[in-house]
Structure formats: structure tokens, C-alpha cells
């Protein structure tokens, strides 16, 4: 049996983290006998209490506490509940995890993650540079620190609507300088600086997820068209597609970065049929359960890569397979909640 720890157990219906979906994929993976530990940052992260998917749940210190606080907490958990593989699922925690990767290795914990350099290369501020290198269209993106940019951006050729984004999360379409300033202030308060401004591309949203082998290869890509969006622009319904042009674009990006680890490539297909790269996320997406649904269980592949095991056999992803997200309530015993609040562990 292998014990896999997974973070990102937050699962608010309008914008869930990927952790529960990753755990669900591993639960359903054939030929994988896994014990699953869920890591959360908030006592109300539902994945901590979902016994169907997580055999144990623990709270971690917020990423702002720094890498050593994370290392100490993981070491403490590992002492009482050893785990073999760690799959971090949130953008904001990844820099800390990468800085303590060697400490984790000493504990015997395996990961399959990009390097710090690779992480920087796909950052939203450097997206244009990477897209140019991989010869993929990409809307102009710029990091700003002052909202007065929105009053004068027209002089520099920026036309409304614009997309205002956080470094890690959040994106708003702003139709005027006033809209943009509100979005800027909200994002700066939540995610800090710089705030990113991106040209708005009209078209349909497609996403691709896969695992980079670290040598320029992309393993088991799964592509999806969003067919239903939440108010936050997140997919609540989608359908698996199979588009060679999108796959080619993703492979160019993987090759350019020699990406190691999970990733999600977000693109918009303009009416002319051109794909525009809007984001690369260094983790599995919240819709990763679709990968199990189409017969390409990517979290299973990641665990095997981390453990140097042979990859599971994948067929062609079944295009036309859909997902529809829904919300459920889980019943939590007060004692379990208390245990999370007081001890940071679900007992």
C-alpha cells in the first residue's frame, strides 16, 4: 500500500480546489492500493471530512507562514502518519513546497513537481515570453502596481474590455476604468502585487491537463471544452474533446519548459480558430476527475512517476464524455470539527 498526501481540500461549489477530485481519481484507480491523506488550510475545507476520499485530514499553516513552518508541520504529521507521496494542488503553496523538496525527500516523501525555474517560466507575468518561444498566440499581459494605469492605458493601445487578474487566482473582465480599478483593488487586497492586466480575447474556452515527464514529453493529455460557467468563470460543466492543434500547442509548451509535474493549459479559441494561451497552472485542475472519466487517470500516472513505477496503461481519452459539477453537503460531527480546530487533525 502507498500513502498519498494531497492538498487543496477546499471545495466551495463556485470555485473548488482540485484536492478532492485528485483524491477521487486515486480512489478509483485500478491497480493502486492507496491510503489517502487530505491537507487543508481551513477548518471548513470539506475534503478534510470526506471519509470516502480521505482516510485522514490535517490542517497546514497558510503559505504566508513560510516554507519552514510548512516543513515543520509536514514533518510532524509524517512522524505520526507517514506518507510516501505528496501532491500539492494549490498555486500559492507551490513555491514553499519546492523550497522544502529536499527536506521531504529526506523523510522519504516523493513528489513529481516542476523546478523553481520552470515555475517562474510559466508565471503569468512571463506568459508572453514563453508563448513567443513556443510560437503560440498569447494576449498581451502586463503586471501593474498602480490603478492609474487604467486611466491612461488607452494611450498605450490597451482597449477595453480588459482582464484584471491576480498572480495566483481570480480574474475579472473590466469594461471601463472604473470597473478595472475595483477589480484591481480587490485583487491587490487578496493576492498582493503585481496585479496583472491582460487583453481580452473573444472566443470559447478550452483547457488541457496532463503531466510533464521532465524531459520535454507530455503524458496522457486530456482536453476539455467548458460548456457551463460559474459566476467566477469556473467550469461547472464541460465535455472532453480531442483537438490535435491544441495538443500540438501544449506539447510545444512542455518541450519549451521541459515541464516536470502536473499542469493545466488554459486557452481561448478565437472565431478564426486560433488558440490563444491565457494561463498555465502548475497543478491539476479542479475538473481532473474528468481524466478518470475518459480513461486517462492522470493523478494515478503522477503517483507512479513519483514512485518510479511503470505508468498505468492509457487508451485514447473518450471525447464526448461530459462532467457536470454539483454541490453536496457532508455531515460533520462536532467532535471532528473540534479536533481539526484544536489539533489540526481529523480523528
Amino acid at each position: 500500500m502507498v500513502t498519498v498526501a494531497i492538498s487543496g481540500m477546499n471545495a466551495r461549489p463556485d470555485n473548488p480546489g482540485p484536492g478532492v477530485a485528485v483524491a477521487r481519481c486515486l480512489r478509483e484507480a485500478a491497480d493502486l492500493d492507496a491510503r489517502i491523506i487530505g491537507f487543508g488550510y481551513d477548518a471548513l475545507d470539506p475534503g478534510l471530512y470526506l471519509t470516502d476520499y480521505c482516510d485522514a485530514g490535517y490542517l497546514l499553516p497558510y503559505p504566508s507562514a513560510g516554507d519552514q513552518a510548512l516543513a515543520e508541520r509536514l514533518e510532524e504529521i509524517h512522524k505520526s502518519d507517514p506518507f510516501d507521496v505528496f501532491i500539492p494542488c494549490l498555486d500559492a503553496e507551490l513555491p514553499n513546497v519546492l523550497r522544502i523538496e529536499q527536506q521531504l525527500k529526506k523523510l522519504g516523501v516523493r513528489t513529481w513537481l516542476p523546478s523553481e525555474d520552470q515555475l517562474k517560466l510559466r508565471s503569468k507575468e512571463r506568459l508572453n515570453e514563453l508563448a513567443a518561444h513556443a510560437e503560440i498566440a498569447c494576449p498581451r499581459t502586463r503586471g501593474i502596481t498602480q490603478p492609474d494605469f487604467f486611466q491612461r492605458c488607452d494611450d498605450e493601445g490597451w482597449k477595453y474590455p480588459l482582464v484584471v487578474k491576480g498572480v495566483f487566482y481570480d480574474a475579472y473582465v473590466a469594461h471601463s476604468p472604473a470597473d478595472a480599478a475595483v477589480a484591481f483593488n480587490h485583487i491587490a487586497r487578496t493576492w498582493g502585487y503585481p496585479v496583472l492586466v491582460q487583453e481580452h480575447i473573444k472566443g470559447e474556452e478550452y483547457n488541457l491537463t496532463g503531466v510533464g515527464d521532465g524531459e520535454g514529453g507530455l503524458l496522457g493529455a486530456v482536453m476539455m471544452k467548458k460548456t457551463g460557467l460559474t459566476d467566477k468563470g469556473k467550469a461547472w460543466a464541460g465535455v472532453a474533446v480531442s483537438d490535435q492543434a491544441l495538443l500540438d500547442a501544449a506539447q510545444k509548451l512542455i518541450k519549451a519548459t521541459r515541464w516536470r509535474g502536473p499542469l493545466e493549459v488554459e486557452v481561448i479559441k478565437s472565431p478564426s480558430g486560433t488558440y490563444h494561451l491565457v494561463e498555465i497552472n502548475p497543478r491539476f485542475p479542479a475538473w481532473i476527475y474528468l481524466s478518470a472519466g475518459v480513461g486517462v487517470n492522470l493523478p494515478h500516472a503522477l503517483v507512479n512517476l513519483a514512485l518510479s513505477r511503470p505508468l498505468p496503461a492509457f487508451g485514447e481519452p473518450r471525447a464526448g464524455t461530459m462532467f457536470i459539477r454539483y454541490a453536496l453537503e457532508t455531515i460533520v460531527d462536532l467532535g471532528q470539527f473540534e479536533s481539526i480546530i484544536v489539533n489540526g487533525v481529523r480523528e
Binding site: E204, Y206, M224, K225, T227, V239, A240, V241, S242, D243, K269, P271, G273, A319, G320
Partner: protein, 100 residues
């Protein structure tokens, strides 16, 4: 009748032998017996009625306009001109749904 003449050549459309729609596009479409159509590249789906389903199947078989019209005339009531117009209109809708 307008649809019976090629707008550029003034020839009857039924003399045209070129494909009505990109053959690769038609081949990739998944078509169910109930008329539900799914494009695995774009993710778009739509449904067609019995006549549309028959036209789509003829296009998937690689039939050109004259042979498609002839096959439909054998199966459905209606003049060749009306059927040809319907086939052209349907092909136009498909092209609009799936631009090259």
C-alpha cells in the same frame, strides 16, 4: 429558382461534383441514430431531424450533390429542386456551425 443555379457560373447546382462540405469535418462528426451530432474537436453538439440525419449520413458516405439529391428523391416526397435546396441549406448550416 435561385437555389437551382450556381451563383457564380449560372450552372445548375446538380452538375457540381465538388464536396458540399469539408470531408474531414464530416468524417469526424459522431452521429447517433437519434440524430444527436457531436464534434469531438470543438466539443459542439446539436441535433438534426430525420431528413437532416439522412443528409448527414450521405455526406459522411462522401456523396456529392447530384448523387445525394438523387438518393433523397428516391426516399422522400418532394421535387428535386426543393430537395437540392434543402441539401445546400443544410450544408451551409454545417459550414456555419463548424467554420474551417
Amino acid at each position: 429558382m435561385f437555389y437551382n443555379r450556381h451563383p457564380m457560373t449560372n450552372e445548375s447546382n446538380t452538375t457540381r461534383r465538388e464536396p458540399l462540405i469539408d470531408a474531414k469535418l464530416v468524417q469526424r462528426l459522431a452521429v447517433s441514430d437519434s440524430g444527436f451530432v457531436f464534434d469531438p474537436v470543438s466539443g459542439h453538439s446539436f441535433s438534426v431531424n430525420e431528413t437532416g440525419l439522412r443528409i448527414l449520413r450521405l455526406l459522411k458516405e462522401g456523396q456529392d450533390l447530384p448523387s445525394a439529391v438523387k438518393a433523397l428523391c428516391d426516399e422522400f416526397l418532394g421535387s428535386a429542386a426543393d430537395i437540392e435546396r434543402d441539401v445546400l441549406e443544410f450544408a451551409g448550416l454545417l459550414r456555419k456551425q463548424f467554420p474551417a
